[in-house]
């Protein structure tokens, strides 16, 4: 098992820069998830670590040794492909034995290793089948098995469960987590699905346009997004993002949204905190997740009267659109808390769950209550 480190890695595809000065360290036995929309450079970064893609500049180190000049075979990392890349003409057993046979391990040893790994994945009964006779989930198990048999220094997974259906994805997610706990291998996992990232990762790396946006634990990334991109990419439904206007009247601090009269109360420390974060008054964005918008059916002190729009019942909770000027503010409530669109409700923004950003740079101003 090993530590994987990137130092100032850059990579271009023609004129397009797909990795921009990415530096990070994946600690031994850590499970790191690269998260980002498609085309953000996450898969390219992963392939560069594996040796399937050359980098233009920078260093890739595995256990402190630079490997960027080594071929994929010499880096001792396994790779799980999104499309599984199983050898179609070989049986499951032969597929899993392939990495061991390639280095001429003896037969008996191959046999025990393959069978024990197959056992832990629950695919012992499939060993004689060919990949074409397997379901998507089983193909993925075999692909993962093939990466595990050789006990590599690290396992790189490129959207391994991306092409499975939703139900199976959930099962496989749990299985992957269990395997990681059992094997403790250093893992890097690429996905565009933030739920998968939150569920699996020890740490999440959010990428966008080739740039590392934020590196932190799932809770960090969710609760303290470093910028507007991370704030809106992580979390479902998407975080509300509104231009904000702070007003101080008679010792009371209020923030109005989208240039409307709808103004929410905030603690009076906000002014100080914003100026400490060097906020420009006309460049302020307020982000708040739907669960940070508190709703009441009755008028309450500090609550603003709003009208409910569309209601999405999601079983465990409802997502409600509240009309703010021409825009909407989405809030999360208990199921059936608001009965019908058009109903009057009272809302408040929980300051502890509010995020302030600089509108131009998109960077978080670090205001916390």
């Amino acid at each position: 098992m090993a530590e994987i480190e990137l130092r100032h890695v850059n990579k271009h595809f023609g004129p397009l820069q797909v990795i921009r000065d990415v530096s990070l360290t994946v600690k031994d036995r850590e499970f790191v998830v690269f998260l980002g929309p498609s085309g953000c450079g996450k898969t390219t970064t992963l392939r560069a670590i594996a040796g399937l893609e050359d980098i233009d500049s920078g260093d890739i180190l595995i256990d402190g040794k630079p490997v960027q000049t080594l071929r994929a075979a010499e880096r001792d990392v396994a790779f799980v492909f999104q499309n599984y890349a199983l050898y179609p003409h070989l049986t499951v057993y032969e597929n899993m034995a392939f990495p061991l046979r390639a280095v001429r391990m003896n037969r008996a040893e191959i046999d025990t290793t393959v069978k024990s790994v197959a056992g832990s994945l629950g695919i012992n009964h499939l060993l004689k089948r060919r990949p074409s006779a397997l379901s998507g989930g089983d193909m993925q198990r075999v692909a993962i098995g093939r990466s595990l048999v050789r006990r590599p220094k690290g396992i790189l997974l490129d959207e391994p469960i991306g092409s499975l259906d939703a139900k199976l994805r959930e099962t496989m997610r749990v299985e992957l987590k269990r395997l990681h706990v059992e094997n403790g291998s250093t893992s890097i996992y690429v996905t565009h699905d933030q739920v998968e990232a939150m569920a699996l990762a020890d740490r999440i790396v959010v990428m966008h346009e080739g740039i590392l946006q934020q590196l932190g634990s799932p809770a960090d990334v969710y609760e303290y997004p470093a910028n507007m991109f991370v704030a809106q990419f992580v979390g479902s439904p998407v975080m509300n993002m509104k231009t904000a206007d702070m007003r101080e009247t008679a010792g009371k601090v209020q923030v109005s949204l989208d240039g409307t009269d709808v103004a929410f109360d905030f603690p009076s420390e906000l002014a100080g905190k914003l100026s400490a974060g060097k906020a420009q008054k006309d460049q302020l964005m307020l982000g708040v997740r739907p669960e940070g918008v508190l709703i009441s059916r009755d008028a309450q002190d500090g609550y603003v009267e709003l009208v409910a729009g569309i209601i999405e019942p999601l079983g465990s909770h409802d997502i409600i659109d509240l009309k703010v000027g021409d825009g909407i503010l989405r809030a999360r409530t208990k199921s059936a808390y608001v009965s019908a669109p058009g109903q009057k409700v009272w809302a408040r923004i929980d300051p502890a769950q509010a995020h302030f950003f600089d509108a131009t740079s998109g960077i978080s101003l670090g205001v916390r209550f």
Partner: protein, 300 residues
């Protein structure tokens, strides 16, 4: 919207050009089928009839049914057996040669190369020529006194085409030169159809170049290689024009030359029809073996 539909639906596109299914049937399908029946199916059945008679196309003598006598005679003829073994050896040498050269060229071409398209086209020229033309100019190349081959190799006066030991190989080399591009073309199609991610997976799995070639490339290209080999074996078995034009050396006499002589020089129409049917059955048997392998290879 109308224009979108017309471009997307091939039927309506054909219809817009005035080609209805009936027209296509009348103009193309019916003439083709009629042609095939008249020039292929009818002679095939007619000659099957001849093979059981003592008919001679050159005489007006009465034609008698002789049962399987022609077949028995042909199979008992030592000269025919000799040409059979010669043909078999020729098929093995020629097809192996075409396979090695063609697949080798395909491997070389299946990588980034400057002027790859031009190179591929040039390499395919031989198979676009007429076999008789190829036979004739290779005859010049092989010429013992002033042929360029002996000159270039500094061999003196090797009589390639009249030497009993060399004539067959000389013809086989010509056939290899002519038909390797065909194997190359099919192999190239097979090689470029191997998904790139399998090579990536193999490189991650620490497989070396040779191991990757024998464990990934070859098995995946095998079905299409087999198809190439089936075609070439069938064709090589029937080789006539090249060999006939190039050499009259009896040691290099192939079965189709024998058949030609029996049918059109000695006018033994009955026995030669029987021989033709025996050749057909043999080619079918050999092809069948390949097809079995092919189906096995395709199962995976």
């Amino acid at each position: 919207m109308t224009s979108l539909i017309t471009t997307l639906d091939p039927r309506s596109r054909a219809a817009s050009r005035g080609w209805s299914d009936t027209t296509i049937r009348n103009v193309f399908v019916i003439p083709t089928v009629a042609f095939l029946i008249i020039f292929n199916v009818f002679p095939l059945l007619y000659s099957l009839g001849f093979s059981f008679t003592d008919f001679r196309a050159s005489s007006k003598a009465q034609v008698n049914l002789v049962g399987f006598k022609n077949y028995v005679d042909v199979l008992a003829d030592p000269v025919i057996w000799r040409t059979f073994t010669t043909t078999l050896w020729y098929v093995i040498v020629s097809v192996t040669g075409q396979f090695v050269v063609g697949f080798g060229l395909a491997l070389l071409l299946n990588r980034p190369l400057p002027y790859k398209g031009l190179l591929t086209t040039l390499l395919m020229l031989p198979m676009m020529l007429s076999p008789v033309v190829v036979g004739l100019f290779w005859k010049l190349i092989y010429d013992p006194s002033w042929g360029i081959l002996n000159h270039a190799l500094g061999l003196g006066r090797v009589a390639w085409l009249s030497d009993a030991n060399l004539a067959l190989y000389a013809v086989a080399i010509t056939d290899i030169w002519m038909w390797s591009p065909f194997v190359m073309l099919l192999s190239l199609a097979g090689l470029s159809a191997v998904p790139k991610h399998l090579y990536e997976a193999a490189s991650i799995d620490r497989a070396g170049k040779l191991y990757t070639f024998f464990r990934i490339t070859l098995p995946l290209v095998a079905p299409i290689l087999l198809i190439a080999v089936i075609f070439r074996t069938m064709e090589a078995f029937k080789t006539f024009d090249i060999a006939f034009v190039m050499t009259g050396q009896p040691a290099a006499e192939l079965i189709s030359s024998r058949l030609y002589k029996m049918a059109f020089q000695q006018w033994q129409t009955g026995p030669s029809s029987a021989l033709a049917y025996i050749i057909l059955i043999m080619v079918l048997c050999i092809t069948n073996i390949y097809v079995k392998y092919l189906n096995k290879a395709k199962e995976r």
